[in-house]
Every structure is written in structure tokens, then in C-alpha cells.
């Protein structure tokens, strides 16, 4: 099944090879009994605003499930993964989640990305006792999880604001103008950024403001941001809008320091703007470039570790499916509340460090306690399902590469 080994080529190859690929899933399926299968749903933003990130999450879920199935499943049970597209739209996502829960009978929904989708499907999951694993950073997420069924693989956004403010101050920038994309992700990040900056003796110049994505031009926003020529600007954003915003900043002749988050400065951004990307500072909680678990993930999905921040959400998707499967293996049951306990047990201290499902399940079988250390973070959860802490790293783009400047651990 070549499509598994070379996922980046799947699309084109599958179209060409169409007929050949047609038979393979049935050939590849080992002889599991259907009745005791583990049913898992994956709901990712494959189109719409999240489309630069959704496919990598979906791919990680799929590849891990195929691998574990080929090794005999979890406790001898086959995993059936149902994948749906949220279209980055909660109205659609609710219907897709209904299908996953009521038609596919999944026990968990993994991979929701924007907070509006995570929160949108949360009432359904709570009602049906379905576990949620997401990468959303809205502060209102823990409050909605009344039953304790949710794990968030992303640091909540206040943590980001604090970390980036500290790093900016450390680099000697204390006068910073701020604008961000208008969503829940940035609004509280900007608030905590401002507080932390001011606490450290810095100041946000100009009034911070939000812009809407999907605009035909961002010129007016950039004019407003760089009015008075502040020494540095901070722009929490996503890659699609940041690419346009950054071109505008560069073409406006602004010579100050541009600071953003690493979501916006992936390999595709660097390809799109070329050498002009050099000098940008960006910070991010995931993935820890150079960490063995992250490199192993990259190789697993067919990429070479390049010393750059890549697959920021795919690595989290990889950790989601690994921790869930290990949690099920640990719990030895499909009862969602038992599985949640299992996830806490395998993800948090104490235990022997493991970085893959196979490694973890072997140690569990030997009767050991394990502590899953992930590709996106160390995956330690607070009792409310939020990440306990996150390594936060600041990078500078030099010669088209991310060069690490400093690493700090920020508490949620």
C-alpha cells in the first residue's frame, strides 16, 4: 500500500492509480471481528479557514490507526477510524459530529481545531459521553467540559501572550504595536501580551486592534499598525492572512522588528515570500524542533526533520491518537470515563518515558507505569484536561531557516 508510506504523494498518485488503490483497504485489513472494534472519529478542518492545518491532523490520525491495526490493534481489537471534514464551520461540524456519534458510534472525536468548532460540538459530546481531543486555545473551553471528557493539546492563549512578551522584552523591545486576526485565539493572547509587557516595563504603542481574515487587502490595517513607526510589531495570525500582511509590511518599507507566532511562518510562508522572511521573530509552544519524538513523527509522515517548525498541528494530532489508544490500552475498557482515567495515567508523571504507541503498550504489558512524551509537547495534563505546561521557544528566521534563540517553559 504505497499511499501509506508516501502520504504527501497520495493525492496525485491515488488519482492516477485509482483502480489499483481501489482494492487495497480490504486486502490490508487483518482478520478482526467487527463486533468489538474501537470506533474513533476524526473531525478536522480540511477546507475553509483551517485548511492549511486540518489535513496534517487527519493524516496523523489515519497513519497511526493503520499502523496500530497492522500490529494487531488495541488489546486485540480493531480500530475503525471515521474521518469527517468540519469545513472550519461549526454549523457543518455539528452535523458531521452527529454522524460520527450516532451513525459511526464513535467513542471519541479528535482533531477539532478552531474553538468555535470545538465548542460547537461540545454539547453533543457531553450529552453522548464522547471524549474530545482538540487543539483549540479559547479560554472558555474548560468551562464547557462539565463531565471531564476533554483533552486540549494546545496551550491556552494567555500562555502564548506571556511567553512572547517576555521574549520580546528580553530582546530589548519595549515599545510594540499590536494587531491580530479577529478570533478567539488572538483576543485573549493580545490581552495577556499587553499585561505581561507592561508588567515588564514595556508598553504597547498605538491601540491594539483586530482585523478580519479573508480580505482582498490588508493595506489599511498595516498603515494603522506601523503609524508612528514603532520599533517592533506583534501580529498573532494564521499563515494565509500573515503572508498577505507581511508582504504589505515589507512593501511599506517598515524596518522595525516583526514578531509573530510560528503558525504563520511555516515552510510555505518562507517559500511564498522568499528572502524577505529573514529577520522575523516568532514564538510557538509546539513543536520542539530537534526533539527526538518530534523528529520521529516527521519521519513517520514521510518528512525529513529540517530544523524548522513544520507540521505544528499534525504533531498534536499524532499525540492525540497515540494518547487515546494508550489510554484505552491502559483502561482495558471502552467506558469513556475509564479511558479518560487511562489517558491521565499514561500521559502524566510518574512512569517510564515512551514516545510511540508500540513502545508504550509493550511496557504496559510488562506491568510498568508509562509517561507518554509527545511530538508536540510533553503531554502533561492538568485535572481539567488542559496542558499543564508548554515549552515555548522563540525563533528567528535566518537564511530561510528557523534558528532557535531561547526556550522557556510557560505555565498554563
Amino acid at each position: 500500500m504505497p499511499s501509506l508510506k508516501t502520504p504527501r504523494l497520495t493525492r496525485r498518485h491515488a488519482l492516477v492509480l485509482g483502480a489499483g488503490a481501489l482494492a487495497s483497504p480490504w486486502v490490508a485489513r487483518p482478520g478482526f471481528a467487527q463486533t468489538d472494534a474501537i470506533r474513533i472519529g476524526s473531525l478536522t478542518p480540511n477546507t475553509g479557514g483551517g485548511s492549511p492545518f486540518g489535513p496534517e491532523i487527519a493524516e496523523a490520525h489515519r497513519l497511526v490507526v493503520d499502523l496500530v491495526n497492522s500490529q494487531g490493534g488495541v488489546n486485540g481489537r480493531e480500530i475503525i477510524l471515521s474521518q469527517e471534514n468540519s469545513e472550519t464551520n461549526p454549523e457543518v461540524a455539528v452535523r458531521a459530529a452527529r454522524k460520527l456519534i450516532d451513525a459511526d458510534r464513535v467513542m471519541a472525536i479528535l482533531g477539532t481545531w478552531s474553538s468555535s468548532v470545538t465548542l460547537g460540538v461540545m454539547p453533543l459530546c457531553q450529552e453522548a459521553n464522547v471524549i474530545q481531543m482538540c487543539t483549540s486555545s479559547s479560554e472558555s473551553i474548560p468551562a464547557g467540559d462539565k463531565k471531564g471528557l476533554l483533552f486540549d493539546f494546545q496551550a491556552l492563549n494567555p500562555a502564548w501572550g506571556k511567553a512572547i512578551a517576555r521574549l520580546a522584552l528580553a530582546r530589548g523591545f519595549d515599545q510594540i504595536a499590536v494587531m491580530g486576526i479577529n478570533n478567539d485565539f488572538t483576543t485573549s493572547m493580545i490581552g495577556t501580551f499587553q499585561q505581561s509587557l507592561e508588567a515588564g516595563g514595556g508598553k504597547v504603542v498605538n491601540e491594539p486592534f483586530l482585523y478580519n481574515p479573508n480580505q482582498p487587502s490588508y493595506r489599511a490595517e498595516v498603515e494603522r499598525l506601523i503609524a508612528g513607526n514603532p520599533p517592533a510589531v506583534f501580529i498573532p495570525s494564521y499563515v494565509t492572512d500573515f503572508t498577505a500582511v507581511y508582504r504589505e509590511i515589507y512593501r511599506s518599507g517598515y524596518a522595525g522588528q516583526v514578531i509573530t507566532i510560528s503558525l504563520s511562518t511555516g515552510p510555505k510562508f518562507k517559500e511564498a515570500v522568499g528572502d524577505a522572511a529573514n529577520g522575523i521573530l516568532h514564538g510557538f509552544p509546539v513543536p520542539p524542533v530537534g526533539k527526538d519524538a518530534f523528529d520521529a513523527y516527521l519521519r513517520f509522515v514521510g518528512l525529513e526533520p529540517s530544523g524548522q517548525v513544520q507540521r505544528p498541528f499534525g504533531s498534536a494530532g499524532y499525540d492525540q491518537i497515540n494518547t487515546l489508544l494508550l489510554g484505552i490500552a491502559k483502561a482495558g475498557s471502552l467506558d469513556p470515563f475509564e479511558v479518560v482515567k487511562g489517558v491521565f495515567a499514561i500521559a502524566n508523571d510518574p512512569g517510564e518515558r515512551v514516545t510511540t504507541y508500540a513502545e508504550g503498550v509493550a511496557k504496559l504489558a510488562a506491568g510498568a507505569e508509562i509517561n507518554y512524551d509527545g511530538a508536540s509537547s510533553s503531554v502533561e495534563f492538568l485535572p481539567n484536561g488542559m496542558l499543564a505546561s508548554r515549552d515555548f521557544e522563540l525563533y528567528e528566521i535566518r537564511d530561510g531557516k528557523d534558528v532557535s534563540l531561547e526556550r522557556i517553559t510557560s505555565e498554563s
Partner: protein
């Protein structure tokens, strides 16, 4: 000054597609929402020639225009032409469906990751208090040239006049011996090329991705309607006004309301001039 220049830069991207949109409306009497997706198609066609195949951008851009025109022609053959007799709203809906097909065909072929032309960013020239980047100037000149070219073609050439005649009153034009079928083909080619060019110009500023068109269709539509639908000159004027309204809003008010204020300006303008700035009432059907 800078604000005005910025408004012109924004308008330069919107104007060719708005002229294309308004031409299509004049010829076929429906708001073709697939124009946004066809802009995306133009940008992708140009990108394919420019980046993987390594052609310089000025050579790749006509490829983008041809790509969009071919896409429009195909959409017309398969979806619009069989429905010429149907109402404007039906065709509008079909055009949205076409947009969904085009967007997702691109996604299937290219994936959802962003792309950019092989065009190094450059620092601006300073002309007194005004900054202008070379690419920005290029976009404005190309856009103005293309729009002026189309105006001349419509005004002076035999085919252009035939297109205008067919747009003004298809029945009358047919009676007078204008070959309406071939005129439609010419209109599709011209409008498609303009739309494709708009996509290429947008790709210079924005990130190229399959959903790009949805960011562009609303301002294109707004410019065409504000200018008076069916009037190419009006579409250009409309693009300028929409650009200006948005720039000024973002500077004096919250940028969060930029697009909303754009709409308010359009609605106010329409209340004063119900057929748009330069529009006349079109003969329907």
C-alpha cells in the same frame, strides 16, 4: 495621499475582475459568483507556469488569463448555456455551485497549502510623503492597461461593438444580424481573461490557496454593482470607491468593521442612485 494610493492599489486588483463580472452580467443577465473561483483558477494556472515550470511572471500571467477564460468557457458550456432561459437567481445559484466545483477541483489537484509567485518582495520607493513598492506600481499599471485595453476594444473594434449591442438588447442585436453566439464566445474570452488577470494580480498581494476567491468575490460584486451593473467604466469607478471607503474606515474607525462600512457606503450610494453610479436600467430577458 498614501491613503489614496492605497485605495488605488486595492482597486487595481478588484477592477479587472469587476469589469469582467459586469460584462458577463450585461451579456448573460445574471450575477456570476463563479468569478471569484475563476480568479483563483487564474492565479493557480499562473502559479503552475511560474513556479513549477519556471516561466517568468510576465509570461505566466497570460497563461493564468487563458486558464480562467478556458474555465469560464467550460462552465458556460456545461452549466450556464443549457440554462439561458432560466431566471437570474437560478443561474446565480448554479454559478455558486460552479464555484464550489472549481475551488475543490483545485484543492484536489494542489492541496490546501498556500502558494506564492516567484516574485521577490521589494522595498518601496519614496516619492515625497508617499511610499510605493515596485510591485504595487506594476499591479496598478497592468490593471489600468488591461482595463483601458478592454474599453478600447469595446468602444472601437467591430467585435467590441457587437458585444455591447448584444449586451444592450440581445433580441434587437440578433434581429440586426449580430451573430449572438460568437459574440457570447468573444465576451466569455474577454471577461475570462480579465477575471484571470484579476486572480494573478491578487496572487501578487495575497496568499494563493483554493479558497482565495471567496475573499475577492464580495468586493468585485460590490464594485460592479456600485458602479452600475453592465457598465465597465462604472465598475472601475466602483472599485475605486469601495477601495477608498474601506481604507478610510480602517484608518478612522475600527478595522474590524472595514468590510461592513464598505457595505454601508454601497447601500447609501445605491439609495441615492438605485441603478448604480453609471448604470442604466437593463432590458431583462
Amino acid at each position: 495621499m498614501q491613503t489614496i494610493l492605497n485605495a488605488i492599489s486595492s482597486a487595481a486588483i478588484i477592477a479587472p475582475a469587476a469589469v469582467g463580472f459586469t460584462l458577463l452580467f450585461a451579456l448573460f443577465r445574471f450575477a456570476n459568483f463563479a468569478v471569484g473561483a475563476l480568479m483563483t483558477l487564474g492565479a493557480f494556472a499562473c502559479w503552475t507556469l511560474n513556479v513549477p515550470l519556471g516561466l517568468p511572471l510576465w509570461l505566466a500571467a497570460p497563461g493564468g488569463m487563458a486558464g480562467a477564460a478556458a474555465g469560464l468557457w467550460l462552465a458556460d458550456r456545461l452549466a450556464y448555456a443549457p440554462l439561458r432561459a432560466a431566471g437570474g437567481a437560478t443561474l446565480l445559484l448554479v454559478s455558486i455551485a460552479v464555484a464550489l466545483v472549481v475551488e475543490n477541483a483545485l484543492r484536489l489537484g494542489y492541496g490546501g497549502q498556500i502558494k506564492g509567485f516567484d516574485l521577490p518582495l521589494s522595498r518601496p520607493w519614496l516619492l515625497g510623503p508617499v511610499r510605493i513598492a515596485p510591485e504595487q506600481l506594476g499591479v496598478i499599471l497592468v490593471s489600468a492597461g488591461a482595463v483601458a485595453g478592454v474599453m478600447l476594444w469595446l468602444g472601437l473594434s467591430r467585435w467590441g461593438r457587437a458585444v455591447r449591442a448584444a449586451a444592450d438588447d440581445p433580441g434587437l442585436a440578433a434581429v440586426r444580424g449580430v451573430p449572438v453566439g460568437r459574440v457570447h464566445a468573444a465576451g466569455i474570452a474577454g471577461a475570462g481573461a480579465l477575471v484571470g488577470l484579476g486572480g494573478v494580480l491578487a496572487g501578487v498581494d495575497l496568499a494563493i490557496e483554493p479558497g482565495l476567491g471567496w475573499a475577492l468575490i464580495i468586493p468585485v460584486l460590490a464594485a460592479a454593482i456600485l458602479g452600475g451593473i453592465g457598465s465597465p467604466m462604472g465598475a472601475v469607478l466602483g472599485a475605486l470607491l469601495v477601495g477608498l471607503a474601506e481604507e478610510v474606515t480602517a484608518l478612522v474607525m475600527s478595522p474590524s468593521y472595514k468590510a461592513a462600512v464598505g457595505f454601508v457606503v454601497i447601500v447609501l450610494a445605491l439609495l441615492l442612485r438605485p441603478h448604480g453610479l453609471m448604470g442604466r436600467e437593463l432590458v431583462r430577458k
